[in-house]
């Protein structure tokens, strides 16, 4: 049985939207305090829609893949879409995660929701905030 779903393999080997928007409207940076995985999202938002988005990430393969996956889900979507991403949906979008990879779903959900929250409050993260994964 493969360790990773085809979706995870795809995003891990062909990451989409990696990098950072220097003129981003909002920035969210979340880390898992236990294993040190981190995801940074930067996005430009036009009329409450994510017009452009980039990711940077450090961590296990699944973390990097989920970060890439998030950008494809959120690109062109209403910013509120980020607020609605629960860990279960991240796991589903990822094509399933093994038990030892599920902390990545929580991290992905946390950084997406943080992006929406930061946008609403007009703030940005300079350092990684911690998720409860």
């Amino acid at each position: 049985m493969p360790r990773f779903s085809p979706t995870i393999v795809d995003h891990f080997t062909n990451p989409r939207n990696s990098g950072r928007l220097d003129d981003a409207d909002v920035r969210a940076f979340v880390g898992n305090p236990v294993c040190g995985d981190q995801i940074l999202l930067t996005a430009s938002v036009v009329d409450d829609t994510v017009a452009d988005i980039r990711f940077q990430a450090f961590g296990c393969s699944a973390s990097l893949a989920v970060a890439s996956l998030l950008t494809t889900v959120l690109h062109g979507a209403p910013i509120d879409r980020a607020a609605s991403l629960e860990p279960a949906e991240v796991e589903e979008l990822a094509g399933g995660l093994a038990p030892d990879q599920r902390h990545v779903a929580a991290l992905g959900s946390a950084v997406a929701r943080r992006l929406a929250e930061n946008f609403r409050q007009g703030v940005n993260d300079d350092d990684a905030t911690t998720c409860a994964a």
């Binding site: 989409r16 930067t42 990097l64 990684a128």
Partner: protein, 399 residues
């Protein structure tokens, strides 16, 4: 802000570049043939009839061949169910024979088979001293000398470390221990077939077949003539009463087949020189990257290259390489969000971050310069990619 070109997708048809021979090796041809022969020898080596005698003779022949690799006489070779069992028999068998009393000296860089065994002995009342290595990954014999006590029964040290390849001064340590009246066990699981072990003066020497081209699930312990150890497995008195149970004839014959190949390879100076050239080729190739660290220094096995890549998670790097058909090993792993850094690297004083960034490349008989070049190319690309995507807030400032 960049989006790097996509990494080529996994190609299931791509040739596998296997650089994890320190974990296990492919079965060599003579070993496979010997296993097939063993499968046909269905008689019990302890039986009196012809079928049993055929098996008995094959077992004796295999014991002679393994004794050539290990040194000592065939009677000193005890076949086991692998390296861990050989190590457990050496340590537990020694102290069981002595009423679980006395003192064991070992090191913090031993394989878990030794360290967990030492912990079990300690729970039974055996005093245990675990020595720290030097930052180079080598054990200083002076530390061993200082740890020896009048009640020291056994010193257990590995011939070379499985993670770093650091070759330990086992001859010097053996002399020191013997001078103090202590026995010596050398864990040669990682070196048998790669370094000569036949002249080591250790009283106990453990090996595992699958590390030198043999099958998994079979190993051996060389027990010096006259040394009495307690069997861990009681039963029919096989292996001269030191390991009961009908012998695993296919496995033992496979081990002997691999041992014959290994003995020939050890005499091949050209092959040894080629292995050293491969090591230099790998290290030179990776040298285009900045912020890398070789975790050990000479003396080191040419087959094992342990490298820390700053700013990179080793398990993620290993996954990238795996998806490109290149098999390597890591010094740590993240399981269920829990870090488990290498006890070897941390004992050497390497930082947690560096330990988590350490990858082991290990060569074997089939490794070629092309394999090394492919590994270098893929590793350099992967490290650059992973570093590029890593968030560094301070580097770009706020926006």
């Amino acid at each position: 802000m960049t989006t790097r070109p996509p990494v080529p997708p996994e190609d299931p048809g791509a040739a596998l570049v296997y650089l994890d021979h320190a974990a296990t090796t492919p079965l060599c041809g003579p070993a496979e043939a010997a296993i097939q022969r063993g499968l046909g020898l269905y008689g019990n080596p302890s039986s009196r009839h012809g079928a049993g005698l055929a098996a008995h003779d094959a077992l004796a022949e295999a014991r002679e061949q393994v004794a050539v690799l290990l040194g000592g006489t065939p009677a000193e070779v005890v076949f086991t169910g692998g390296g861990s069992e050989a190590i457990n028999l050496a340590l537990q068998g020694t102290f069981a024979e002595r009423g679980w009393r006395g003192h064991l000296v070992t090191t913090a860089i031993e394989h878990s088979a030794v360290l967990e065994c030492a912990a079990a002995l300690n729970r039974r009342g055996v005093a245990v001293t675990v020595l720290a290595p030097e930052p180079s990954g080598h054990v200083d014999p002076a530390r061993v000398a200082a740890a020896l006590r009048p009640d020291t029964v056994l010193v257990s040290v590995m011939h070379a470390n499985n993670e770093t390849g650091a070759i330990q001064p086992v001859a010097e340590i053996t002399d020191l221990a013997h001078a103090a009246g202590a026995l010596v066990h050398v864990d040669a699981v990682q070196t048998a077939g790669k370094l000569p072990v036949d002249e080591l003066a250790a009283d106990l020497l453990s090996v595992s077949a699958h590390k030198f081209g043999g099958p998994k699930g079979v190993g051996a312990l060389r027990v010096a003539d006259g040394l009495v150890i307690e069997s861990l497995i009681h039963g029919g008195g096989q292996e001269s009463g030191r390991r009961a149970g009908t012998e695993n004839l296919p496995g033992v014959l496979g081990m002997a087949g691999a041992a014959a190949v290994a003995v020939d390879a050890l005499r091949n100076d050209l092959a040894r020189a080629a292995r050293r050239r491969l090591r230099k080729r790998l290290i030179d190739g990776l040298g285009v990257l900045d912020d890398i660290l070789l975790t050990t220094t000479d003396p080191v096995m040419p087959e094992t290259v342990s490298v820390s890549f700053g700013g990179v998670r080793a398990d993620t790097l290993a996954d990238v390489l795996d998806m490109r058909g290149i098999c390597v090993s890591t010094g740590s792993a993240c399981h269920a969000g829990q870090d488990s850094p290498s006890h070897v690297l941390t004992a050497m004083g390497i930082s947690l971050e560096q330990a988590k960034a350490t990858v082991r490349f290990s060569f074997g008989h089939g490794t070629t310069a092309d394999h090394v070049d492919l590994a270098v190319e893929a590793t350099v690309a992967a490290v650059e990619q992973l570093r590029d995507v890593r968030p560094f807030m301070a580097a770009s400032g706020g926006n």
